[in-house]
């Protein structure tokens, strides 16, 4: 009877053997590069006749942060950035570092200083339309704002918030305009156009979130939208959605993608202008990326050498410098800029994806930027790409017109206004 049973030691040895094999395989997969493919934001389809304010608020939260736990993400050191990409520039939490655009958090009343009676964004929005500068903007743009064609006409705080999404230049909060534009040009992209391209209901959802976040009873977003546009929300939504490009896939830059796709996916365009990249013509937060010209100078600069001496930076070639700037942005911050570039790109690039982007940036020079009418920001100590002689025109308006002739592209010329004015100013100093 005893021999009817298989020897237990054989079972044990076999089990140990395959456990060792499985451990080896699992260990190997953990040693290989780990890439997590996050799902892109869902295209939003909402039946506005049945939607509740709370649903819109929740949707808005998701569009802004890409999460329903943004604070938790911040505390974990992650960047809560949704498809709207608002937190790249606006501050929504005290724990967040973003000061390129106005704060959207409730702040103590500046007049009373009372911590308990904070002024919310919803309350602030009502003040905006009463601001004399808003009336001045209405007059200035009576024929329509240049990029959107919209004539500023918000009457309520909610309408103002709606308008800001479709026409960021219609009113620029003091101190937040592009340098040299006297707060008439906003660094914010038009939200219903590429690359962000939210549809109407998504914009209403974002505004709902802003209205209700600190004051749950203040929901007027749909009413505001319909009053502002004079039509029912949802009309023509289908056509807009059809035009909207599909989300480009998981947020990992891959070697199989073009530089344009990588820049779009990584949202570099939100801060930088990059020659050769269609979507990256408006970034006014970070330096112009012409690394074929800039990187050698930066490496040779005294500031960079100081960082090397401190052991914080280590690049010796332009390629290394660009990789370092993406993977470890804090290693060296270009003088004139703040250290507020996102720090998680090292988790978002495959090596081949990084190569694609680096190759593109290395190929960009002053010449390629000039050819596309792009210019450095005033903050960059290297100065404008436009020679003083060319920029020495009577006034700002003529400057723009001249650059339009030179560059042959009205929009690009407009976007280079900051650089031109900087050069203009220099020519007189």
């Amino acid at each position: 009877m005893r021999r009817q049973f298989v020897n237990g030691s054989v079972i044990l040895k076999v089990a140990l053997w395959y456990c060792a094999i499985l451990g080896g395989f699992a260990g190997y997969t953990n040693w290989l590069p780990q890439i997590r493919g996050d799902a892109p934001e869902a295209a939003v389809a909402v039946d506005v006749s049945n939607v509740t304010p709370e649903m819109l608020q929740e949707m808005g939260e998701s569009i802004i942060y890409g999460s329903h736990d943004p604070l938790g993400m911040l505390q974990r050191g992650e960047g809560p950035i949704g498809k709207g990409q608002c937190p790249l520039c606006h501050r929504f939490f005290m724990e967040q570092k973003a000061d390129r655009c106005p704060n959207l958090i409730a702040l103590p009343n500046p007049e009373t200083g009372d911590e308990g009676l904070k002024v919310t964004e919803e309350q602030r929005s009502h003040d905006r339309v009463k601001d004399p500068r808003y009336k001045e903007a209405m007059e200035r743009m009576a024929d329509g704002e240049e990029n959107s064609g919209i004539v500023p006409h918000a009457e309520t705080g909610g309408q103002y918030l709606i308008e800001s999404e479709y026409c960021p230049n219609c009113f620029v909060v003091m101190g937040f305009g592009l340098k040299g534009t006297n707060d008439t040009v906003s660094p914010m992209p038009i939200i219903n156009k590429p690359p962000i391209q939210l549809v109407d209901t998504e914009i209403v959802a974002v505004v709902s979130y802003l209205q209700m976040r600190d004051d749950p009873g203040k929901f007027t977003a749909i009413e505001d939208w319909e009053a502002y546009w004079g039509k029912t929300l949802g009309e023509g939504e289908e056509e807009i959605k059809e035009e909207a490009p599909a989300a480009p896939g998981p947020k990992v830059a891959l070697g199989s993608e073009t530089p344009e796709e990588i820049v779009t996916k990584m949202t570099c365009y939100a801060c930088h202008k990059i020659p050769g990249i269609e979507v990256a013509k408006t970034g006014m937060v970070g330096p112009l990326l012409i690394e074929g010209s800039s990187a050698p100078h930066r490496i040779a600069s005294a500031e960079y050498k100081a960082r090397v001496k401190e052991g914080l930076a280590s690049a010796t070639t332009p390629r290394e410098y660009i990789i370092e700037s993406i993977i470890s942005p804090g290693a060296f911050v270009v003088p004139g800029f703040a250290d507020d570039m996102l720090k998680d790109f090292k988790h978002k690039f495959t090596v081949s994806g990084l190569d694609v982007l680096v190759d593109h940036l290395l190929a960009q020079t002053e010449e390629t930027a000039i050819a596309e009418g792009l210019d450095r920001l005033p903050n960059e100590k290297e100065g404008s790409l436009v020679k003083p002689a060319e920029a020495k025109i009577d006034n700002g308006e003529k400057t723009v017109k001249k650059s339009i002739e030179e560059f042959g592209d009205e929009q690009d010329a407009h976007l280079s206004i900051a650089g031109l004015e900087n050069a203009h100013a220099k020519s007189f100093n």
Binding site: F25, R36, A39
Partner: protein
């Protein structure tokens, strides 16, 4: 003579008749699907009472429109449409339930195919050598015994899988059920038929056994029927999977358009089915080989050892035989994926999931090295093989060098400091082996080397007697040498030409490999005609390392299935049903490879632990193999030719 011929005809007639019966099982399947297409009620109507038509997402031109016959794909909302068990990822729980069911399902569907071949060989050999015929018949019978226990486990795991779907993914499962409703019960009914045939086939083994008479052929016919039902079941299950990857028969909103055949016959259905049938066969062979290895290790007498040694050889031979065409089926599947959605192909081969192919390369290299190692160990029991022992170290060296070359990545992920130290993401010397030229050369060299090892194994026991033996030997040496030179030359040449031209070089490289396989095997077989055995094969005297190598082979097969399953499933990214039903759960992201590796290892561990239990049960049921009983009664050691 004419009486014998008449008997033969009769037997063949019986086999054909029963085989036809087996194939007839497809008829109700076809009829049902045809009826189902017309029976579905159109749920949406235009103003004049005419059904509202939807446009198919895949089928074009004629037949692209169909009546909207179901509700649209739901907008799933978390947590309403998803269930959870505490903080565990629901997707991972479902992953495990699915993988376990798939493993056992594959096993119980593959074993009858394997058994069919064994039983047929047994019947055909019985006329010349009843003892040899019975040996194969007993092997087939023993395998069915294992399969029977595994069948129960499969059914239990199927139940667990359904409950997991209902508990954790009710929204998704509801949608899929609404689309496949016309054939879901057919699937269940086929299981009843499968069970009935299986029980008659298994329990009727002895009753139908008259050597190679009509009853035995009838029994083989039952096996044909069993396999036919099994294949239909597998095809049906695969249509769900392929529908999720490449939906058809529905419109953009996910409405079912009334024709279930279009849903089932979606763009990736056929290549997935073919790939899975071949994979199942290979996997089944691997598991049987592992079972035999287990029994070999635990055998208490020489006869048992001999039997299971022989059985492990037969099973591993079957596994490798179906492994060889598998890459070609995989290539076809990948081509169809590119044809369906180029982005899907890029995600697999050059994008997010590209690193998984490095893991696949590791697994395939493991399989080839293990097969070679097993053959070398197995030659230890073959008199005459000593002549070739000196070549083993060179064969292993070639395999290891090829593996290292194959696994060298093109670029590496590293810290900025490492990047700087190396001067770039690509190593200046080693990085050269990371390109496709080197990889194609490596894998073709590995396959060619394995073919050479197998030919050596086949001839190691014989002194050749054909008069042209020396010419044949020279031809074989030249064939392999020229093939390898061609593979190497094209590999090196690939470094000097543009990438788009280089891709074309893989065709002549593969052609060299296949020429070695087919021409080499044929010439070798012809040279072995009338060859004189150098001595009797010492079955049962294979080293224990050889048995453990078979376990390695089987576990590597299982792990490869897991990793490629992860790859196939992950390519849908954030879609339950590609571009139709979005995954809105918190687990819609694609897991990194390390996590997948951990879950794969857990799945394989669970599977093999359950399988070990099944093996143990089988050892309880029959303490001695029939051959061992006979041998013991005669007091002799069983020896057999291969």
């Amino acid at each position: 003579m004419s009486v014998i011929q008449g008997e033969k005809k009769k037997k063949v007639g019986v086999l054909l008749l029963l085989s036809m019966l087996g194939l007839l099982i497809l008829l109700p399947f076809a009829v049902t699907t045809t009826f189902a297409s017309g029976e579905e009620e159109a749920v949406a109507e235009e103003g004049d009472g005419e059904p509202k038509m939807g446009k198919d997402v895949f089928y074009k031109e004629e037949g692209q429109f169909g009546p909207i016959s179901s509700r649209p794909a739901p907008e799933l909302v978390y947590p309403d449409d998803y269930g959870t068990y505490g903080d565990y990822q629901s997707r991972t729980i479902l992953w495990i339930a699915n993988q376990q069911h798939l493993y056992f399902g594959s096993f119980v569907l593959a074993v009858p195919m394997f058994v069919w071949v064994m039983e047929l060989i047994g019947i055909l050999k019985y006329g010349k050598d009843p003892k040899e015929g019975k040996k194969f018949d007993d092997l087939a019978h023993e395998m069915m015994k294992i399969s029977l226990t595994a069948y129960s486990v499969t059914a239990i795991l199927g139940g667990i899988l359904i409950f997991t779907f209902l508990a954790l993914y009710p929204g998704f499962f509801g949608y899929l059920a609404s689309i496949f409703r016309p054939v879901m019960h057919l699937y269940a009914l086929l299981f009843i038929l499968e069970s009935g045939v299986l029980y008659v086939y298994y329990y009727g083994w002895d009753a139908f056994n008259d050597g190679n008479g009509d009853w035995k052929w009838t029994h083989l016919g039952l096996c044909t029927l069993l396999n036919a039902v099994g294949i239909v079941l597998m095809v049906m299950a695969n249509t769900w999977v392929s529908f999720m990857m490449s939906p058809a028969g529905v419109d953009e909103a996910g409405h079912f358009l009334g024709d279930i055949w279009k849903v089932m016959h979606n763009p990736l259905m056929v290549p997935i089915v073919i790939h899975r049938i071949l994979g199942n066969m290979s996997f089944g062979g691997g598991v049987v080989a592992a079972y035999a290895a287990f029994r070999f290790l635990s055998a208490t007498n020489q006869a048992e050892k001999a039997h299971y040694d022989w059985m492990s050889y037969i099973a591993s031979f079957m596994a490798v035989m179906f492994l060889i065409p598998l890459p070609f089926a995989g290539y076809w599947l990948m081509r169809e994926i590119y044809g369906y959605r180029q982005q899907m192909g890029i995600t697999l081969m050059g994008g997010l999931l590209a690193w998984v192919f490095i893991m696949q390369a590791t697994m395939i290299a493991t399989l080839f090295i293990t097969v070679n190692y097993y053959l070398m160990q197995a030659m230890g029991r073959i008199p005459g093989s000593e002549r070739y022992h000196g070549a083993f170290k060179f064969i292993l060296a070639i395999l290891v060098i090829s593996t290292i070359s194959w696994l060298t990545p093109h670029t590496l992920v590293m810290t900025p400091a490492e990047l700087k130290a190396m001067g770039g993401a690509q190593h200046p010397i080693v990085g050269n082996y990371g390109v496709m030229s080197a990889k194609n050369t490596a894998i073709n060299t590995m396959i060619t080397t394995t073919v050479a090892t197998f030919l050596i194994y086949q001839r190691s026991n014989f002194n050749l007697k054909v008069p042209w033996a020396w010419k044949g030997n020279i031809f074989l040496v030249c064939l392999f040498a020229l093939a390898e030179l061609n593979i190497l030359f094209l590999g090196i040449y690939g470094y000097f030409i543009p990438a788009n031209v280089r891709i074309g070089l893989s065709v002549p490289q593969v052609a060299s490999t296949l020429t070695c396989l087919f021409v080499g095997s044929t010439i070798n077989a012809k040279m072995l005609k009338g060859a004189e055995p150098i001595g009797e094969i010492r079955w049962g005297q294979m080293s224990r390392r050889g048995a453990y190598a078979l376990f390695m082979l089987a576990v590597a097969f299982t792990w490869t299935m897991a990793v490629m399953g992860y790859l196939r499933s992950s390519v849908r990214l954030h879609w339950h049903v590609n571009e139709i039903l979005r995954d809105n759960s918190p687990w819609a992201f694609t897991n990194p490879l390390g996590y997948a590796g951990n879950i794969n290892s857990l799945n394989v561990l669970l599977f093999w632990t359950m399988l070990l239990f099944v093996f143990w049960l089988a050892s309880l049921y029959a303490t001695k193999s029939p051959l061992a009983r006979e041998a013991e009664a005669r007091g002799e050691v069983v020896a057999a030719s291969h």
